[in-house]
Structures are given as structure tokens and as C-alpha cells.
Symmetry: C2
């Protein structure tokens, strides 16, 4: 079974050499020095590799079971959940007023990468709780916050998002779940929700469901939707548990992967719920959860491929097969290790250069969230623009990476016992949930691109331009990093320009290229991320700081990405500018 090695040094490099967190001037960041974060990563890493990773295959094999209406999690999950709670990991970036540790979001993301990499299905129980926490924290009344948040911060109670119904996923305007107002100000919620991750389980005393439903008088479509807090077990005013609510698990889905997480059909039969946020404005509150969840899924996208990559590297070093074309590298042995072969290298470099670029994008994005929480509107615009890119691109490429890693194993990768299949099956969900990636592309092109009159996009182009200007004279970087970044950025601008010119006249032209645009954007961003890492690594080398071999490896890995991955932007641009004609040419009957 694959193990997991926490990449502490890589995380430290990003936080301290690239983002220079402690010098960022953000409140609370001055304490985030190398020693402090190293201690955090050591603890999170140990928990991940020693406790969570060994349960990953267990969760896949056993799955969850529905017994007499109660969901049973796989062996060992409950004990591991206690360990996560005791370590305070669920509370890390939460509000101290409710028992949180008030740490920056970037640290939550960095440690989250470890937990996800070690056991994605397991980590979803706390991940979804965090999303529900955020929605209540942002939109709840003081009384609601006081009642629910302390228990959710500690994960004594977990949380869920109840959006999807059998006939509607993306198009929430169609939803049928009803909320009947009661005299005491509460509502009775009735309806069926599907695909509810962590919908029920045996690891917490209570599950706080956030449920989208239609209350009377709200009109048609999404305008009539409100968000409700619906606990599995009713809660007394003093926070103690009262009677069970009218909430039950209708079924557990049998899925392709993430078997360790309970994906439930949830039935609400006149369950008592309380309005969260404003009546008929539930979509707004829902998007608080959703945007956080999308960034979380982007993180999952690459993080779940990390142990797959690590296993592929180990296998490529150990498996003896064939001889290097340039002469035996292991002449004493019966054959050379796989890793001598250029095509295996190509695969491993594709994996490594993506994963390290994706990590940088995720943590840079998390840092933008910290900036926005401290009042930086530009950062808020930027992360809003990039949310669909982070979700869509990192999950597509993360899945590809898991497939590449599996492929290194040859036939052995197809055998379940080897563990590589699980990585691929688990990774697949990240492209689908929290808005399938086609919906991300639609959000990007249809909404985010023109948001605030395109200011965030222009700000990003300005940022890249200034960066290229600042480092364009640096001989060590100009050819290998700055020039390809400029070219990719130019392709991105051309595509955006095309959409602006054509999108008004024929919106199909923009939407037919939306998926390619999301990928073009993703490559350009990873190019930007690699260029920033290259500057940091080169500067460390120039100044003779730290481990030179590590920094040289960073530069070599970045060079690979710039040379071998960034050329994709030209193909995406060609596809985009071919417009909608060939895409929409056929009648629906002709397929």
C-alpha cells in the first residue's frame, strides 16, 4: 500500500522564500516564522502519514454502511477523527470567539494539503464542516453563531451542504424542497436531497445540515430560494441536545471512489429548520460555502495526486526493467530501474512540475484570501476571478496526474491491492462535485471575466507585467521563465480579447471556448507561479542561502513546466478563436 511523505520542505519554501509571509504586513503573520510553521507542519505531517494515510485504503475497501438508519464509517475513522479534533486541526483558522485558533487561512490550506493527500475521503468530514461554519459565521445571527459554532469549530458537530436534488444540480432554480414558516419563526423543511457528502456518520454527536429550500412568496427560480440550518438532532437553547429532528438517510450511494465518505440521500420530512441569512436570498449565503468549497476542491484536485506521485517515484526507483538507452546505469543488477528511461522521466516530470505549481497557486490563492480578509479588495477580486480556474484546472490536471502515476506501475497499477486505482477513482470526483468543471468554465467566462468591469483581470495582467519587467533583466531567468510567461500571458490576453469582442455579438463563441480558456488560464497561472518560485530559488542560490541542491531542483522542475507545459496555451487559443461554428454545427438529433 502506498505511504505518504509530508512535503514540509516544499511548503516551507513557498511560505517563507516565495510568499515571505512573516514580512507581508498582515496582522498575525509576523509570528509565522520558519520555526513556527515547521513545528506546525511536523505535527500535521506526523498525523497525516502515521494515522490518516494508513486508513486511506481501509476506507476504500470497507466503505460506509447504512445500518438501521445510521451510517457506520470504516474501522479506525472514529479514532482518527478524535485525534484530528484533539490536535485542534479543525479549529485552525476559525474565529477565536468560538474556540478557533485564528490562524491565517494560508496555514489552514497548507496543512489541509497534508490531510487531503493522506486521506481525502476522511478529510471531507471536517472540510464540509468548515464550509458550513463559514456560512453560519458570515450570515448567522449572534444567537445562531453562539449556538452552533463552538461545536462546529471543534467538530463535535459536523456540517453539510444540502443543495442537489434528483432533478437539479447546477440549475438550483428547479429545486422542490419546501420550507413552511411556523409561528415561532422556525420552518418545517420537506424534500429530498442527494449527493450529500458526510451527510451522516457515527463520528459526531450531531450533524448541522445547511439546506436550500423554497419558502412561500419568493417567486420563481433561484430568487425564491432560502438557506436553512437543519440539525440532525434538535439543539436546546443551552446547547444541549434535544429530540431527533425529522431528518433521515434515505440511502448511501455506491460510488466510483471516496468510499470512506458517506454520500447520502437525505430525506427531510417536516424537519425543523431556521433561516440562515435573509429570506429568499439563500443563493448568496450558499455561495459563501460554495466558493470556499470550490477552492477546497481545487486543493483536493492536486493534493490527492501527491501520494500517487510519491508512489510512482518509489516504484520507478525500485522496479528493474530494461536498460538505459545511453548505457546500463545499474550494470551489477539484472536491469536498470525504470527511472532511467526518458519516457518515465517525462511522466514523473509532468507530475512533479504540475503538483509543485499547483501547490504554489493554491497557497498564493490562500494568501490572497488572507489579504481580502484584511480589507484588500483587489485580493478579493483576484481570488473570486481565480476560483473557477483553481477548481477546474487543478482538478482536471490532478486527475491526469493520478492517471500518469498509475501508468508508471504498468499492469500492477490496475490491481486494486496496489492502491493506485484508488487514487484515480478518488481524484475523479474532484472534477465533478461543487460544480462540474464545465460549470466552472461557464462561471469564469460568463461571470468572472467581466465582473467589476474586468478590473480583477486587468489587475492580474498588470501584476504579471510588472513581475516580468522586474525580473526580465535577470539573465538566469529571462529565457527560461520570463519569456515563456510573457508568451502565455499574451495568449491569455488574446483569448480574453476575443471573448470581449465576440461574446457580445454571439455568446456561443465565448462559451464554446470556455473550457479551453479555463485551461489556458490555468497554465498561464502555473507559469506565473513557477516564475515566482524560480525568482525565490535563484535568489537563494545567488545569496548562498540554504540547500543549493533543493533550489536547483526547483529551478529545473520549473524549467520543465515552462518548456513542456506552457506551449499548451497556443493550442487552447487556437481552439478558442475557432469560435462556435463547428461546435454548434449539428442538430441535437445528429449526434
Amino acid at each position: 500500500m502506498p505511504s505518504y511523505t509530508p512535503p514540509t520542505r516544499d511548503l516551507q519554501f513557498i511560505l517563507h522564500d516565495v510568499l515571505r509571509l512573516s514580512q507581508s504586513g498582515l496582522p498575525g503573520h509576523e509570528d509565522l516564522d520558519r520555526d513556527f510553521t515547521e513545528a506546525v507542519f511536523d505535527a500535521a505531517g506526523k498525523l497525516s502519514s502515521d494515522v490518516l494515510a494508513p486508513l486511506n485504503a481501509v476506507g476504500d475497501r470497507q466503505g460506509c454502511r447504512l445500518e438501521n438508519g445510521v451510517v457506520r464509517t470504516p474501522d479506525g475513522f472514529a479514532e482518527a477523527f478524535e485525534a484530528v479534533k484533539e490536535g485542534g486541526w479543525t479549529a485552525m483558522d476559525c474565529d477565536p470567539e468560538y474556540g478557533g485558533q485564528g490562524m491565517p487561512h494560508v496555514l489552514h490550506a497548507a496543512t489541509g494539503e497534508m490531510f487531503v493527500a493522506a486521506n481525502m475521503a476522511f478529510n471531507m468530514y471536517q472540510g464540509l464542516t468548515h464550509g458550513a461554519y463559514s456560512a453560519i459565521h458570515t450570515h448567522g445571527t449572534d444567537a445562531q453563531k453562539a449556538l452552533y459554532l463552538p461545536k462546529m469549530v471543534s467538530c463535535d458537530w459536523t456540517g453539510t451542504m444540502n443543495l442537489t436534488e434528483p432533478h437539479c444540480g447546477t440549475d438550483l432554480g428547479l429545486l422542490r424542497t419546501r420550507a413552511e414558516p411556523q409561528d415561532d419563526g422556525s420552518y418545517l423543511i420537506t424534500g429530498t436531497k442527494i449527493f450529500i457528502s458526510a451527510g451522516d456518520h457515527d463520528m459526531a454527536e450531531n450533524v448541522i445540515h445547511l439546506v436550500l429550500a423554497k419558502a412561500p412568496g419568493g417567486g420563481e427560480g433561484t430568487k425564491g430560494i432560502s438557506l436553512f440550518i437543519v440539525p440532525k438532532v434538535l439543539v436546546n437553547d443551552d446547547g444541549s441536545l434535544a429530540a431527533p429532528n425529522g431528518v433521515s438517510v434515505g440511502n448511501l450511494e455506491e460510488k466510483m471512489g471516496i468510499h470512506g465518505n458517506a454520500t447520502c440521500v437525505m430525506n427531510f420530512d417536516g424537519a425543523r429548520g431556521w433561516l440562515l441569512g435573509e429570506l429568499h436570498k439563500g443563493m448568496r449565503a450558499m455561495f459563501t460555502m460554495m466558493n470556499e468549497a470550490r477552492l477546497g476542491v481545487g486543493l483536493q484536485g492536486y493534493a490527492c495526486a501527491i501520494p500517487a506521485y510519491q508512489a510512482a517515484v518509489e516504484y520507478a526507483r525500485e522496479r528493474l526493467q530494461g536498460r538505459a538507452v545511453t548505457g546500463a546505469k545499474n550494470p551489477e543488477g539484472p536491469a536498470d530501474p525504470l527511472i532511467v528511461h526518458p519516457d518515465i522521466r517525462r511522466s514523473l516530470m509532468d507530475q512533479k512540475s504540475f503538483l509543485e505549481g499547483a501547490r504554489m497557486l493554491t497557497l498564493w490563492g490562500a494568501h490572497q484570501i488572507d489579504r481580502s480578509r484584511n480589507g484588500d479588495d483587489d485580493a478579493e477580486g483576484l481570488i473570486s476571478l481565480l476560483t473557477p480556474v483553481i477548481k477546474g484546472f487543478l482538478t482536471d490536471k490532478g486527475f491526469e496526474t493520478a492517471v500518469l502515476a498509475q501508468q508508471v506501475f504498468g499492469g500492477h497499477g490496475y490491481i486494486e491491492e496496489q492502491g493506485m486505482s484508488q487514487f484515480v477513482r478518488d481524484a475523479r470526483i474532484t472534477m465533478i462535485y461543487e460544480g462540474a468543471n464545465g460549470v466552472q468554465a461557464l462561471d469564469l467566462v460568463g461571470r468572472k471575466l467581466a465582473a467589476d468591469n474586468g478590473k480583477p483581470l486587468m489587475a492580474l495582467f498588470g501584476m504579471v507585467k510588472a513581475f516580468c519587467k522586474e525580473h526580465g533583466e535577470n539573465e538566469a531567468l529571462a529565457t527560461d521563465f520570463i519569456a515563456p510567461l510573457k508568451a502565455a500571458s499574451k495568449d491569455l490576453q488574446s483569448a480574453a480579447m476575443y471573448f470581449m469582442e465576440r461574446g457580445m455579438k454571439n455568446p456561443d463563441d465565448a462559451l464554446a471556448g470556455s473550457y479551453d480558456f479555463m485551461h489556458l488560464f490555468g497554465h498561464a497561472m502555473l507559469g506565473f507561479m513557477w516564475a515566482q518560485q524560480a525568482v525565490a530559488a535563484q535568489s537563494a542560490l545567488d545569496e548562498g542561502r540554504g540547500d543549493a541542491a533543493f533550489f536547483r531542483t526547483k529551478l529545473a522542475t520549473g524549467r520543465y513546466y515552462m518548456q513542456r507545459q506552457l506551449p499548451m496555451t497556443a493550442t487552447h487559443l487556437a481552439r478558442i478563436t475557432s469560435g462556435a461554428d463547428t461546435v454548434m454545427a449539428l442538430e441535437a438529433e445528429a449526434f
Copy 2:
């Protein structure tokens, strides 16, 4: 559960409008008129959709079971196998001397597409038998042929390929299975083989294993390898069954997919075997099977994605979600069907244009095999060159296609009950077995490119050039088809040139680009195939023959491929010509 609709009209178009089989001048082809092949396709299609397709999910769910040393296939498989045998489908292109029907290979491939699409795991039982049949037919003595082939043609006995061992897959020189010569001319075979597809089952009286093993005196590495016929049950001279041989199933592998096929660990404990072909020249005989198997896997690669695509189309037509950006298309309903959305179209067109191009390449390749069997050495060189492209490219893209189809279903695609997960899990194996796709790329660049002094490659370029010249003046095709084909062909030539110039000096430069070259080659070939289909469709339209809507759909689908897929060749070329430096930059320890 997904159903399967046989694409008879598309197959007919390729055989008669594009390849013009009955006018090809090949022996036996003059009888292949439209009526004849339509009758064949109707029968094969009915068997596929009515009998085999309904068992696809059954096979996935039940899998095979090992009971007291005997492999039990899923419910219904044995009856279906009888139906396939009774229909004579296993004998179609086999030698009439041994009970075969002596039909052209292209018809075997076209009907094979249907069987694979309907139930890939099931079809492997006969597919592997066909490979073993070919090896015995080509390399066996008259006595061996008379003894084994009639029963294998009818699939009363099935066949296997026993190559892989726990420590060696691609690098067969490492194998440890031993063959001890006996006084009577037979050998005693001892060793363990793994990943033996259809290694044992309950649908045939006997299983004829072809086993690679080392006999004394053959020297080191692959030179010492011989191929042996090792029946599960010994066969008397009169063809009747004698005592069981020393062959047993050690284990059944639990795999990511193709659960309906028994993947066995085979133990040979002094099992009696007979040399097939020359002593110590087993690799040559093995490649007869292997090359056929690789083309068969290429066919599987796209064929197994066909029902996934069909299901995605159906879902996209029926699932109501959101409104078309250009105005409601289903104003009476609560929402428009998915298929109105440009990004869903993009996905469906990606799928459709690949599948129909892949079908054309496969059948065109099968036609080259028929030419080579009739003494056309150029055709033999061509199919030899293209075998790794067909295997590697069609399986990679077929898997991608299955993933795209699954994605159309959103969350529903991730639920096993829906059936889309199985298509993805099944498709995944095609990239791995019969030589993982990296090995195909190595074979292409390291062996096939320079084979016969590059004559086959030059012949192919000449063929494309002549085609472009012939149709370059056709205004209906010049811009949309001929120009992009020329560009793709030019990229292919540039890449080949790069390898020739650099490969001598630094073979790593060639091998680091081998995977991209295989894909560049694949795209260029599909461009060539689409251009040929476009010529046929345009000519039918010009002459007012047949169903105009069908031909216009072909042209529109081809245009999509040329516009949206062929630009990939430029990116592959850029990756290739970046050479091996960034690929090989890191020490093995630095990953």
C-alpha cells in the same frame, strides 16, 4: 444502465464509401457489397445490443470467482458465449482449412468493434483465443495446427498469452519460467505467470496456453526464450481430451475494471508443453500474437468508449438543466436540455469526432492487413509502423473520451449504478496491457521509425502528399480539410526529422519526445482519416447519392476535428523539439 446502439450506417460508410472494399481488387473482396455487409452488421449488431450489452454491468458487478481451483464467470456469460460461437463469429476471418470462414480481416475488425463496445470484458475470451490461433497458425507444425486450430476457431477451446511474470513485464529477458526437454520431444514447464487474461473459466472444455519460457542452451536475455503450447487439459492425438495438465490458477486479481474477464495468476508445475516455432526464437512467435493483440487493444480503446458516448448523448438530450445563453430552446419546459449548452457540445463533439476518426483509422489499418496478407509489402510496412500509434493513441484518447462522457452526467456519472464509471474503469486497462503506452512510444521511435530505412514512413508521407495534391483544388475541402492536414503532416515530418538528426547523437532526445510523437502521429493520422471521409461524403453530396443529412453530419464532425484537435500537433512538436535536457535534468534522488 446504458444500452448500445450498433453504428451500422457509420461502418457501412467507411467500408463502401471510403474504402470501397468491393472495388479494391483484393481476393474475396468483390463479394463484400453493401447488402452483404449490412446483413452481417445487422446480425452482429443484434447479438451485441440484445445479448452482450445487457451482460456488461452484470460482469462488472459480479466479477469472476475462483471456486475450488475453477474460475466461474458471471451469470449469463456461458450462454452468451454459446450464442457467439453458434453465430460463427469466432471463426470469421480464420482459415477455412480449420473451420474458419475466410472472410477479410476488415470485416472481423468491424464486427469486433460491436462486440467490444457491447461488452469488452466478455469479448476478451474470444479475442485472446484469436491471437493464440494466429500464433499457432503462423508458427505451428501441420500436426499442431490440425490438433488445436479447429477447436480454437470454434472457441470450444480458448487461448491465452502467458508472458508476464511478477518481476518482469516489458523486459521479458528477465523471465524465470523454465522448460525442461523430455525424451519424447515435449517439455516440462515450470514457473508462475501473472496478469493472464481469460487464463481460466467455465465456458470452454480446454484452454490452450501459449507460454514463454527458457529452455536450456539459449543464452541470456530474450535470446534464450521459446514459446510453448501448454494445454490446460492434455489432448490425445485424435483430439479427444486426456488427463489434466500441471496447470493451475494461483489467484484471481481484483482489478479496477474488466471484472467480467478472469485475470489469473497461472502456476505451471512441470506442465507438459510443446515447442511452438523454433527453439530459442520464441520472441518472434510471441510478436505474431502481440502485434495482433496490440491492434486489437487499439480497437478496444475507442470501441469501449462508444457506449459511453451514446449514453452521454442520450443524457444530454433528456436532462433539463439551465437555459441556452441565446434564449430558451425548450420554453414550455422547466429548463432546456443539456445539449443546448456550448460546453456540452464541445464535449460531445470531442467524443464524436474522435470516435469516428478512430473507427476509420482502425478499419483502414485492418484493410492494410488484408492487403499485406495478399502480398502487399508496403501495406505490411505501413501497419507495422502504425501499430504502436493505433494502440497508444487510440487507447489514451478512448479513455479520455470515456471520462468526457462520464463528465456529462455530473454527479450521477460518479454513481456506480449509472454505468458510466464502469466505462472509465474498463477503458483504463487498454492504456496498460499488451505493452503500456510508454512502451508503444518507445517501439515507435526506437524501432518502427527507422525500420526498413524509414521506407514505410516515407511511403506514408508520400501517400498524404498525393492525397493533398489530388484534393487540394476541391474548394469544398481545401480550407477545412486539406490545409490543416498539410500543417499536421508538416509537424509530423519536422518531428521525425528532429529525431533523425538528434537521435544518433543523443538518443535521450528522441526518447524524451517519444510519447508526444505518438500523439502527434495519432492526430495527424486522424486528420488524414477525416480528410478521406470528407472526400467521400462531399462526393456523395455532389452526386446526390444517399442520405444528405448523414453526409453533411460527417463533414461537420470532420471539420470539428480538423479545427479543434489538429492544433495539438504544434504543441506536441514544441515539446518534442525542446529535447531531453529538462526531462533528464534531475538526479533520481531529487524527485
